[in-house]
C-alpha cells in the first residue's frame, strides 16, 4: 500500500510500505495492506512506518489524523519529527 505523511510545513514521507503502526486515540493499531476504509484521530505518540519486514522508520507526532482509502493511507499530523 502507499503511504503519505503530510504536515502543514512539508511532505514528511511518501512511498510504498508494508504497513504502518499508529497511536490511535483509543490505543495503538496497525494498518496493513488492503485495510478497510478508515478515518481515525491520532494521539500523541510514535508513528512507525514498516517499509518492509525488517526496515522501519519512526516519527514522533503531537496528534493528527489518518485516512485509509483504496489501499492508500494518508497521515495528517501537526508537529512531527523524525526519530533515529
Amino acid at each position: 500500500m502507499t503511504l503519505e505523511i503530510l504536515t502543514p510545513e512539508k511532505r514528511l514521507y511518501s512511498g510504498d510500505v508494508y504497513g504502518i503502526q499508529l497511536p490511535g486515540i483509543d490505543g495503538l493499531f496497525e494498518v496493513l495492506d488492503k485495510h478497510a476504509p478508515l478515518v481515525s484521530a491520532l494521539s500523541k505518540g510514535t508513528v512507525k512506518v514498516l517499509q518492509d519486514k525488517t526496515r522501519t522508520e519512526r516519527f514522533s507526532i503531537q496528534g493528527g489524523f489518518v485516512e485509509v482509502l483504496n489501499n492508500k493511507a494518508t497521515v495528517l499530523v501537526e508537529g512531527a519529527t523524525a526519530l533515529d
Binding site: P8, E9, R11, V39, S40, A41, T74, L76
Partner: protein, 294 residues
C-alpha cells in the same frame, strides 16, 4: 560654475547609491518571495486532504447538521479582528492598504460594537500595530512578532488563543484581515470570517465509502475543526508573507526605475553645467588673449 558642477555630481552619487540599495532590496525580496511561495505550495496537499477528510465524514452523516461549539452563532456583541501586516516598511502601499481594509471593515460592519469599544484587534506584524494604535483602536501586541520566526507552531498558538477566547465568550465573531497573494504585483486585501465556522456543506462529489470511524464521527469533526482553523490561519499568514515580499519587490523595482529617470535628468544638467563652464573658460581665455594683442 565649478560649485554647481560639484553639487550635481554629489546628487548623482547619492541617487546612485540609493539605487544600489533599492536594487539589492528587490533581489532580496525576489528570493524571499520564492521561498514564501514554496511554503504555500508545501502546505497545499495537507490543507486539501484535511478538507477532503472533513467532507468525507460529513457526507457519511445522515442528519446533516453538526453541532459543535466553534460553529455556534451568537448575537455579535464583541468582535476580534486579526490583522496581518508586515514588520518592515518600504513595501509600497502594502501595509497602508491592510490598515485601510481593517478600518473600513470596522466602519461598515461593526460601527455599533466599535462605539461601545467592543472591537479588539490582534496584530500580527509591527507596522499594522503601530498605525492602528495611533488611530486609537484597541490593539493587542501579543502576537506582533510572529514573522520574526515564522513557523506553524507559532501560528497555531494564535489560532488556539482565538478559539479559546471564542469558546469562553470573550468574542462573538473573529475575522481575519490580510492580503491574499495573487502574483508578485497584485494582492487582494480581504476580510475573512474565522469564527464562528461557516456551516459545512455536503459536497456532492465526496466519496461515500464505508468508512470505519475511530472514535466516532462527531468527535472526529470536533477534532478536525481546530486543525482546519489552524490551517486556515497558517495559510493567511503565508499568503500575507508572500504578498509582503511581492509588494516590496514591485515597490523596489519602481524605485529603481525612478532612480534611473532621475539619473538621466541629472546627467543632462551635469553635462549642461560642464559645457557652460568650458564655454565660460574659453571665452575668458580668448578675450584675455584679445586684450593682450590690443
Amino acid at each position: 560654475m565649478a560649485g554647481q558642477l560639484k553639487e550635481v555630481r554629489n546628487r548623482i552619487k547619492s541617487v546612485q547609491s540609493t539605487q544600489q540599495i533599492t536594487k539589492a532590496m528587490k533581489m532580496v525580496s525576489a528570493a524571499k518571495l520564492r521561498r514564501a511561495q514554496d511554503a504555500i505550495m508545501q502546505m497545499r496537499p495537507y490543507a486539501q486532504k484535511l478538507q477532503e477528510m472533513l467532507s468525507n465524514i460529513v457526507s457519511n452523516i445522515d442528519s446533516g447538521d453538526v453541532n459543535i461549539k466553534l460553529a455556534t452563532e451568537r448575537p455579535v456583541e464583541k468582535v476580534l479582528l486579526i490583522v496581518i501586516t508586515s514588520d518592515r516598511g518600504l513595501a509600497g502601499a502594502y501595509n497602508a492598504n491592510i490598515v485601510k481594509a481593517a478600518r473600513a471593515a470596522i466602519a461598515s460592519k461593526y460601527p455599533a460594537q466599535f462605539a461601545k469599544s467592543n472591537v479588539t484587534i490582534w496584530n500580527v506584524g509591527k507596522k499594522g500595530y503601530e498605525s492602528l494604535t495611533r488611530f486609537g483602536y484597541k490593539t493587542n501586541a501579543d502576537f506582533k512578532d510572529l514573522f520574526l520566526s515564522l513557523s506553524f507552531e507559532q501560528v497555531q498558538a494564535v489560532s488556539a488563543a482565538a478559539m479559546k477566547a471564542f469558546e469562553n465568550g470573550e468574542f462573538d465573531a473573529v475575522e481575519l484581515v490580510y492580503s491574499q497573494f495573487k502574483n508578485a504585483a497584485t494582492q487582494a486585501f480581504v476580510v475573512e470570517q474565522f469564527l464562528p465556522i461557516a456551516k459545512v456543506q455536503k459536497q456532492p462529489g465526496a466519496r461515500k465509502a464505508d468508512f470505519i470511524f475511530e472514535p466516532n464521527k462527531e468527535e472526529l469533526i470536533a477534532e478536525l475543526m481546530p486543525k482546519i482553523l489552524n490551517t486556515q490561519l497558517y495559510k493567511a499568514v503565508l499568503d500575507a508573507n508572500a504578498s509582503e515580499h511581492g509588494a516590496r519587490m514591485t515597490a523596489m523595482d519602481k524605485a529603481s526605475e525612478n532612480a534611473n529617470e532621475l539619473l538621466r535628468n541629472l546627467k543632462i544638467s551635469y553635462n549642461r553645467a560642464r559645457q557652460a563652464a568650458i564655454t565660460t573658460e574659453l571665452t575668458e581665455i580668448v578675450s584675455g588673449a584679445a586684450a593682450l594683442q590690443g
